[in-house]
């Protein structure tokens, strides 16, 4: 059994992602995968398939419809404005799209990425064992490219959402702090102590020249002590490179596997999702923490995600913000992973 998911409109930058393509970094193949792993997991857990894939909707928004049958979706991410046939639904929710209905996702009060996971599987060929799209190398997803208006993807074994409307509550989702924690290095010796101090105390603004590969930051140029060339070495998600122009580049999901600019610091794993959800023009700042503090934060976050999401059926009444809030607080709970 199958149904078809139709992309009716899509802004630039939306792609299909699973957890990522691993094991080929040594041949220069980028893992890709979600920008905000926590939000992605919230959508997957709610869809009942933690190893599945989702559409990663960018700030450009998207409109979707179903053809040939009903398809349920679990949606989570930044606080996007979601509408089903013009009626507002919560930013994190599960719902069923019937043929003839339209689901629209538009950037809302905060956040840059939103995940739409089907109850069912995308019928697409995997590349090296993964569906993750890496547009710069044209690998994965739908023809290795961004999604666009007119695209159709078959969903195999589509199921409706278990209730007509379900709010998804995941304690690790929420508006991100402005302050992101970093571990200094490993090339902090390429910068003077006053430069590092300025880097840590300055407000940084996310540049419009940011994408899934890297977030560029605007602020006081970071001066190099001994040039901007290092012998190219490996790059991790969250590495903060300082290229020759002194404008920090934070390497994101589509980062190149290696690079030759010195890395002043790394954003800790627990804060990568918060960073990803920043929008061009948003301000952020950095706070240096120890490796041990980073691990504590990472374990705490892993425990939250392990505990899963809470699904709360919603009534069919007018969905005002107050109503949604009340439902979230008092509603029944469905196990997310059954």
């Amino acid at each position: 059994m199958s149904a078809t998911l139709r992309i009716r409109s899509a802004g630039p930058g939306s792609t299909l992602q699973d957890a990522g393509r691993f094991g080929l970094l040594r041949f220069g193949v980028t893992p890709a995968g979600p920008m905000d792993q926590g939000a992605f997991m919230a959508a997957l857990l709610a869809s009942g398939d933690p190893h599945g894939a989702a559409i990663e909707v960018s700030l450009g928004g998207m409109e979707l419809s179903a053809e040939g049958g009903e398809i349920g979706f679990a949606i989570a991410g930044g606080a996007f404005d979601l509408k089903l046939d013009g009626q507002a639904v919560p930013a994190a929710c599960a719902l069923t799209l019937a043929p003839g209905s339209r689901l629209t996702l538009r950037a809302g009060v905060y956040g840059a990425w939103c995940y739409v996971a089907p109850f069912g599987r995308f019928d697409l060929p995997s590349a090296f064992g993964s569906l993750a799209t890496h547009t710069r190398s044209g690998i994965g997803g739908l023809e290795g490219r961004m999604l666009r208006a007119g695209d159709a993807v078959r969903i195999v074994d589509p199921r409706p959402a278990p209730q007509e409307r379900i709010a998804i509550s995941a304690p690790w989702l929420g508006q991100a702090a402005e302050r992101l924690r970093v571990i200094l290095g490993p090339q902090q010796d390429y910068f003077s102590p006053p430069t590092i101090e300025t880097f840590l105390s300055s407000p940084w603004r996310l540049s419009p020249r940011s994408d899934r590969m890297a977030y560029r930051l605007e602020g006081p140029p970071v001066q190099h002590l001994k040039g901007h060339d290092i012998v190219s070495d490996g790059l991790a998600f969250g590495a903060i490179q300082i290229p020759g122009d002194g404008a920090p580049l934070v390497l994101m999901a589509d980062r190149q596997p290696t690079g030759g600019y010195p890395k002043i610091a790394h954003v800790i794993t627990a804060d990568l999702g918060a960073l990803a959800q920043k929008r061009p023009g948003d301000f952020l700042s950095f706070e240096a923490v120890t490796w041990e503090q980073a691990i504590v934060a990472r374990r705490a976050r892993a425990r939250l995600i392990e505990a899963g999401v809470t699904l709360t059926p919603l009534g069919g009444a007018e969905l005002t913000a107050e109503f949604l809030l009340a439902q979230n607080l008092i509603g029944g709970v469905i196990g997310a992973e059954e």
Binding site: G28, S137, D229, V231, D233, G234, F237, A239
Partner: protein, 242 residues
């Protein structure tokens, strides 16, 4: 320079870098490749993947299942294996065209290096290279052995995409690119060879550690070779060394 002892560097909380030196040198890269092989054989649970580079090995690992202390202890145990002799297995002859019509930055790079484009091409084609690592993008092969006269800093900021198969110089290094990507390097040649193909297993031809020689070809020859490569033919010649 090869360090007396490897440096263990945290790249955030999800990766550890084992750095053997601070330069591009066959002896340093050999340590990297040998440690990579030793770690693969050790099959340590929690190690997700490793990325050998010129002078260091990046180890992506899951801290929730493998502690940093345990990883460090295991790396110390494996150190003697990394110090063993490494020998290249093969030499590849790669056609490369240095004509400015295909090598869009060769004139600019030659000016910056204070030489003619012909001299730059001759020096680049005269080098005896070793594949040290892949990186940056699928199949981008970084080589050691660039003649010192061609040492040129990369551009201060990356610029628009390079053509497919570009031979690039920058930061005193050279590499052969596959797909178009933005970089701060200079395009000084192009190879018609397809070095990375999704439908090949493995997707790459050249192994890290292999020796490479560039064979200059004219723009006309490039066009005909490119057509052959596009139809699936492997142009580069491989000689077994050991």
């Amino acid at each position: 320079m090869l360090y007396e002892r490897p440096r263990y560097l945290d790249a955030g909380d999800a990766a550890l870098v084992v750095e053997f030196g601070d330069s591009v040198h066959p002896a340093i890269n050999a340590r990297v490749l040998m440690l990579d092989a030793a770690l693969r054989d050790a099959a340590l649970a929690g190690v997700e993947e490793t990325v050998p580079t010129y002078r260091s090995l990046m180890i992506h690992y899951d801290l929730l299942s493998l502690s940093r202390a345990k990883l460090l202890a295991r790396l110390e145990e494996l150190a003697p294996q990394a110090a063993q002799v490494f020998a290249p297995r093969a030499r590849w002859r790669l056609p490369c065209c240095y004509d400015p019509s295909l090598a869009e930055d060769i004139v600019e790079a030659a000016e910056l290096l204070n030489m003619t484009p012909e001299r730059l091409a001759a020096l680049h084609a005269g080098g005896d290279y070793r594949a040290y690592m892949y990186g940056f993008a699928p199949g981008w092969c970084y080589l050691g052995g660039l003649p010192a006269q061609l040492a040129l800093a990369r551009r201060a900021s990356p610029r628009g995409p390079t053509p497919r198969g570009a031979a690039l110089i920058g930061g005193g290094l050279t590499l052969v690119a596959t797909n178009p990507m933005p970089t701060g390097w200079y395009v000084i040649g192009r190879t018609p060879e397809i070095l990375f193909a999704l439908d090949r297993d493995p997707p790459t031809l050249i192994e890290p550690g292999d020796a490479i020689i560039f064979e200059p070809v004219s723009a006309d020859v490039f066009q005909s070779l490119e057509a052959r490569a596009s139809s699936g033919e492997v142009l580069a010649r491989r000689e077994a060394l050991s």
